[in-house]
């Protein structure tokens, strides 16, 4: 990584799900460009670790344990941020879980499973936006980045709650964008592809595994940096006329999707 240029200096960012994986990488990359970071997630240990790494880079950091499916905790997250960091400029709705992917028959899905799936992956983003956006309107600027998924753009077998909630996030982004365009708030959406989030590894995964050879045109699965840099771009002034947009960052797979290999056999042009 190159050194930062201070493009986010003086900004405060909340990153939900910031203790691990994509959220942690976003926190570190934004910190490197000068942003103060508030890390929110349920597990205190992980978010304190991210906060420590942000402080090592230089900016201020705060770890606030938060369950985004609880509106009271979300309101507390935003209030504490405003009081303790003195402002809020960027909100990244990254918290979410792949749940309800067991591919059971639809008639076996319980009310509770449906509710949890939609709450975690869609309602959490609503609670966070609702808590932060009045402040953005009052100050006359703000950036929101919602993390969706390719599962919200295509219908995968048995993917009832996650796929539906992520589709909801994508259109929630568009509705927010048109509603708050004049308030100088940019709201965009990232759909990450397959990303290895188990560890922050600097090198791309080796080519040639089952996943990479069959489904991903660029020939590797993603690394957290792929998504983190996109979030950094969307958090900065460089994206001020971009709002309501969906950025799929998936190694190219979503551009195709009708052939199992992505490749058609060569056919000579013949006219009768």
């Amino acid at each position: 990584m190159a050194t930062g240029n201070g493009t986010l200096a003086g900004k405060v960012a909340i990153i939900t799900g910031g203790g691990t994986g994509l959220g942690k990488m976003m926190a570190l990359l934004m910190a490197k460009e000068g942003a103060d970071i508030v890390v929110a997630a349920r597990r205190i240990g992980a978010i304190e670790q991210t906060a420590d790494e942000v402080r090592e880079i230089g900016p201020r950091a705060l770890a606030i344990p938060t369950d985004v499916t609880d509106p009271a905790q979300v309101n507390n997250l935003v209030e504490r941020t405003l009081v303790e960091m003195g402002g809020l400029d960027i909100l990244v709705n990254n918290a979410g879980i792949v749940r309800g992917q067991e591919r059971r028959p639809l008639w076996e899905v319980t009310d509770e499973e449906w509710r949890i799936g939609i709450d975690t992956n869609l309602s959490g983003a609503f609670y966070c936006c609702r808590a932060a956006i009045k402040h953005f309107v009052d100050q006359g600027h703000g950036k929101i980045i919602n993390i969706a998924s390719g599962n919200g753009m295509r219908g995968n077998r048995g993917d009832f709650m996650y796929g539906t909630a992520k589709a909801g996030v994508i259109n929630f982004t568009r509705v927010l964008a048109t509603t708050f365009a004049q308030d100088n708030i940019q709201i965009n959406c990232i759909a990450p592809g397959f990303v290895n989030v188990r560890e922050l590894q600097p090198e791309p995964s080796t080519r040639g595994s089952f996943l990479t050879s069959d489904f991903i045109p660029v020939g590797r699965i993603g690394v957290p940096e792929d998504i983190g840099h996109l979030a950094l771009f969307l958090a900065s002034d460089a994206s001020d006329y971009i709002t309501g947009a969906l950025f799929a960052n998936d190694g190219g797979g979503l551009a195709g999707g009708v052939s199992p290999t992505g490749y058609a056999p060569v056919i000579a042009m013949e006219e009768d």
Binding site: L8, A181, D226, H229, T243, A248, G252
Partner: protein
């Protein structure tokens, strides 16, 4: 100011095609981020002006008067850029010819010219530069197109068809060249202007219709362009990304 990780030091770019804004603004954005830039278009005055912007940022510029609708000229031009720069890391296809006319009044030659300038030029650019990028096992291709690649508007059938063609070229090449380290993306621009008002008919209505209530400034496309061609986007390919002030969001 460009974020540190998006800097383009040492990179060689080619901005190809005739269009109202993009030689100048794409060139300036790439040069400001640290790239050297070659320009290829028919309009010699326009590419000289764009080269001036690049020099102003202290980067090297090349200008090659080229008709992008002529495959032989394009190949010759690409050979000259490779001779001058040693490689091509970034190709920006920036071809735009407008025609607003009911389809029934559109002549055969007008239709062919629209497809030739807006679509075939991008094909020529991708083919000639793609050959070089496959040798390099790395490259970034950006097709600058319009939101009308995905939406229809009356009296714009030829333009919509051509832009839709470039979008599908983008998606197919993503998959065809992904394994060669080449990413292929499109930027879909909304209503752009260098000035706050243009005096266009029904301008007030249009500005009310764009959620952001203003035209996009050409440099706001440049900042996305720089991110997309940086070293941080190996995984981002086959996409159409809008710079449109949310115009594509609403009904």
């Amino acid at each position: 100011m460009v974020a540190g990780d998006f800097r383009l030091e040492g990179k060689k770019a080619l901005v190809a095609g005739d269009s109202k804004y993009w030689s100048k603004y794409a060139g300036a954005a790439l040069a400001e981020a640290g790239a050297d830039v070659a320009f290829a278009a028919r309009n010699a005055k326009r590419i000289e002006e764009a080269a001036g912007e690049v020099s102003r940022h202290g980067q090297k510029a090349l200008t090659l008067k080229t008709d992008m609708t002529d495959a032989a000229q394009v190949q010759k031009m690409v050979d000259q850029v490779v001779a001058g720069f040693g490689r091509i890391d970034i190709l920006v296809n920036a071809n735009e010819l407008l025609l607003a006319k009911p389809l029934l009044e559109t002549s055969e030659s007008e239709w062919h010219r629209m497809i030739d300038v807006n679509l075939n030029s991008a094909f020529h650019g991708c083919q000639a530069v793609g050959r070089q990028m496959i040798k390099q096992e790395k490259g970034r291709i950006i097709n600058l197109i319009s939101c009308l690649a995905e939406r229809g508007v009356a009296n714009f059938a030829a333009y919509c068809a051509a832009m839709g063609g470039v979008l599908q070229l983008t998606r197919a090449l993503d998959i065809e060249w992904g394994r060669h380290g080449i990413t292929v993306n499109a930027i879909g621009t909304g209503w752009m202007s260098e000035t706050e008002k243009t005096g266009a008919p029904q301008e007030e209505l249009l500005l009310k219709y764009i959620p952001l209530k203003r035209y996009g400034r050409p440099e706001e496309v440049g900042s996305l362009l720089v991110y997309l061609v940086s070293d941080t986007t190996d995984f981002l390919t086959g996409q159409l990304l809008y710079v449109d002030g949310a115009a594509m969001c609403h009904l």
